[in-house]
C-alpha cells in the first residue's frame, strides 16, 4: 500500500508509540482489503463507548490509547448511562464508575463528548467528504442523505481513525462501490407516515437485501425527517452502508450511467412489513418501560412529545424514557422542556442509549418503543420482549389510555 512520508513517519513511531500502533492496524486492514492508500478524514465518529457493549477489555484499551490526542475532529456515540442520569434509574455503582472511566478516556484524547447517535445534526457535510464513522444509522444517513463517504466503521477502527486522522480508501470511499446493486420497488406500499412505519420499512428492506447498495423506488414519506428511522432500521438487519433514494441523494447524477434493466428487482409490500411487526407484539404489561429516541430525538420531536402529553393532560404511569444527544439535551434543559416533561413523568436523558444501557440492572422486564432498531437489539442483547407501536400509541400506553 502506498504511504505518504508523514504516514511512514507515524508508522515508524516518530509521533509516539500509540500513533504507530493505531496506524499499523489501519494499514494492515487496508492491505488485507486491497486499499491502494489511506485517505484523510476531517471527522471521525467514535462508536463502542458504552460499558455494556465494550466491557472491561474495551475500557482497558481506551485507557491505554488515551495517552494520544486525536488528530481530527472527533465526536462520539451515546453511553450506557451518564453521571446525572444514573441515580434515579437504580444503576449499580460499579457500572457507573466504569462508564465514567470510558468517558474520561475519550475526553483526554480530545474526543468531543457529544454522546449522540445522530452526529449528522451537529455539522454540515459537503457531498464527497471522506469520513470515518461508526454507528450504522449515522453511516447510512450521512452517505445516503448528505453524500458523505464513509464505511461502517467498527468500535476500534473508528477510534483509530480519530487518533490518526486516516482511514483505508476502500468500500464506500470509492465511487465504484456507491452504485446501486439492487432495485427495491415499493409501489404497492401506502405512504410512510410514521416513525414506526419508516423504521420497520428500513428493517424489512435490510433483512431481504442484506448487502450492497439498494436503490429505493416509489418511496413516499409524509415528512423528510422520517428517513432517519428508515436508515436505522436498514442498518439493523443488514450490513448495508448506504441506500439511494433518487429524490434525496445529492449525488444522484451517478444514476444516469446505470443500466437499470440489468439490476435485480425486489418488491416490498405491506405484508412484508406486517410480518416483521408481528415479531414484536407482546402486549402492554404495566411494568413496561416506554422508550422513544432510537435514533436520538431532535428538539422538534421532543417538543412534539411534550405537546402530546399536554394535549392528553396526562401523566406517564409506566417508566417512560426518551433519549437524545448531549447538545439537544442542553437546549431542552435551557428551554425548560426537560422540566416540563419531568412533571409529566417523562424522563429525558441526554447522551444515553438505552439499547446499550444497563436494562437488566435497572429491572426492566418489557419494553414498548416505536423503533425497530431498539426492538431488535433489546431482544437480542438483553433477552427482553418488546412491543412496537407508533409514537402516539407509545405515549397512550405510557399514560394508561391504551391497554
Amino acid at each position: 500500500m502506498f504511504l505518504t512520508r508523514e504516514e511512514e513517519l507515524m508508522l515508524e513511531g516518530h509521533y509516539g508509540e500509540i500513533y504507530s500502533r493505531a496506524l499499523k492496524v489501519l494499514v494492515k486492514v487496508g492491505e488485507a482489503l486491497g486499499a491502494e492508500r489511506l485517505v484523510e478524514v476531517p471527522w471521525a465518529h467514535v462508536s463502542g463507548i458504552s460499558y455494556t457493549s465494550i466491557g472491561d477489555a474495551g475500557l482497558e484499551f481506551l485507557e491505554e490509547f488515551s495517552k494520544a490526542r486525536v488528530k481530527t475532529y472527533a465526536t462520539c456515540n451515546p453511553a450506557g448511562i451518564t453521571a446525572d442520569s444514573c441515580r434515579e434509574l437504580g444503576v449499580p455503582e460499579d457500572y457507573v464508575r466504569k462508564q465514567l472511566r470510558i468517558l474520561r478516556s475519550l475526553e483526554r484524547m480530545g474526543v468531543k463528548l457529544t454522546l449522540t447517535c445522530t452526529p449528522y445534526t451537529l455539522r454540515q457535510v459537503r457531498p464527497g467528504t471522506h469520513l470515518a464513522w461508526g454507528e450504522s444509522n449515522a453511516v447510512i444517513y450521512v452517505n445516503s442523505v448528505m453524500g458523505g463517504y464513509t464505511n461502517r466503521e467498527g468500535a476500534p477502527t473508528s477510534l483509530l481513525a480519530a487518533i490518526t486522522g486516516k482511514t483505508p480508501l476502500i468500500g464506500l470511499h470509492l465511487d465504484e462501490n456507491r452504485r446501486p446493486t439492487v432495485r427495491v420497488k415499493l409501489h404497492k406500499l401506502s405512504s410512510v407516515n410514521s416513525e414506526l412505519k419508516a423504521s420497520v420499512l428500513g428493517y424489512t428492506i435490510g433483512s431481504i437485501v442484506r448487502r450492497g447498495v439498494p436503490l429505493i423506488e416509489g418511496l413516499r414519506l409524509t415528512r423528510p425527517d422520517l428517513i432517519k428511522y428508515m436508515a436505522a432500521g436498514l442498518g439493523t438487519s443488514s450490513s448495508i452502508g448506504m441506500m439511494i433514494i433518487p429524490e434525496v441523494y445529492p449525488l444522484a447524477s451517478v444514476l444516469k450511467d446505470i443500466r437499470m434493466e440489468e439490476l435485480e428487482v425486489i418488491e416490498v409490500d405491506e405484508d412484508d412489513l406486517r410480518s416483521r411487526m408481528e415479531m414484536y407484539s407482546s402486549g402492554f404489561p404495566e411494568d413496561s418501560m416506554v422508550l422513544l429516541g432510537c435514533p436520538h430525538l431532535s428538539l422538534d420531536e421532543i417538543r412534539e412529545i411534550a405537546w402530546l402529553m399536554e394535549k392528553l393532560d396526562a401523566k406517564a404511569k409506566m417508566l417512560t424514557v426518551i433519549t437524545t444527544g448531549r447538545p439537544v439535551y442542553e437546549q431542552a434543559v435551557a428551554s425548560r422542556l426537560a422540566e416540563f416533561l419531568e412533571r409529566r413523568g417523562v424522563k429525558l436523558l441526554g447522551g444515553v442509549c438505552m439499547v446499550v444501557g444497563p436494562l437488566r440492572e435497572m429491572g426492566v422486564r418489557h419494553v414498548i418503543t416505536n423503533s425497530a432498531k431498539a426492538a431488535h437489539y433489546i431482544k437480542l442483547l438483553h433477552g427482553i420482549n418488546v412491543t412496537l407501536l407508533d409514537t402516539r400509541d407509545c405515549i397512550l400506553a405510557s399514560t394508561g389510555y391504551l391497554r
Partner: protein, 143 residues
C-alpha cells in the same frame, strides 16, 4: 513418526507461534463465542464448549459479529489468555484489528483448506511473517 503438512497463504500479522490446534467449524464471534474473562469457548451443545483457547492455534473459517470482538482479543492477550496464533480461511476486519492490537500471528487464504486438514489436537506452527502454516500429524494405529 508423523508427517508434516505445509500450507502456504497470506501472512497478515507477523510473528511465529506453535501450539495445539483448536478447530472451530463455523465463523467465530469473539464477542459471544468466547468468555473474555476466562479465555474459554462458549458454544453450548458442542464439544468445544468450555475449551480453553489460551496458547492454542485457533483455526476457523472467518470471524463475524460485533466489532467489539477485536477488544476481546486484545483483552485476552493482556491477561495471557489469547490464542498463540490464528489461522482462517478468510480473515476479515474484526480478527485483523484484534490480532494486530494483541500481537497474535494471523495467516489466511492458504493454498489448501485448513479446516479439512487440521484437526483439534494437532500441533501447528504458524509463521505470520511468511504466511506459512505447518501441521504436524501423528501416525495413528495401522493406517
Amino acid at each position: 513418526m508423523g508427517t508434516i503438512i505445509t500450507l502456504r497463504g497470506r501472512g497478515l500479522v507477523e510473528g511465529v507461534a506453535k501450539g495445539r490446534a483448536i478447530v472451530v467449524n463455523r465463523p467465530i464471534s469473539f464477542l459471544g463465542d468466547v468468555d473474555a474473562k476466562r479465555g474459554v469457548l462458549v458454544m453450548p451443545g458442542t464439544e468445544l464448549n468450555g475449551v480453553r483457547i489460551a496458547g492454542r492455534v485457533l483455526v476457523a473459517p472467518s470471524s463475524k459479529g460485533s466489532t467489539v470482538g477485536s477488544y476481546v482479543l486484545y483483552g485476552l492477550a493482556k491477561k495471557g489468555l489469547a490464542p498463540a496464533a490464528i489461522v482462517m480461511r478468510e480473515a476479515e476486519v474484526i480478527v485483523i484489528v484484534g490480532c494486530v492490537l494483541a500481537g497474535i500471528p494471523l495467516v489466511d487464504k492458504l493454498d489448501r483448506d485448513p479446516l479439512s486438514l487440521v484437526e483439534s489436537g494437532d500441533t501447528v506452527l504458524v509463521d505470520g511473517s511468511r504466511g506459512i502454516v505447518e501441521v504436524y500429524k501423528q501416525c495413528r494405529g495401522s493406517s
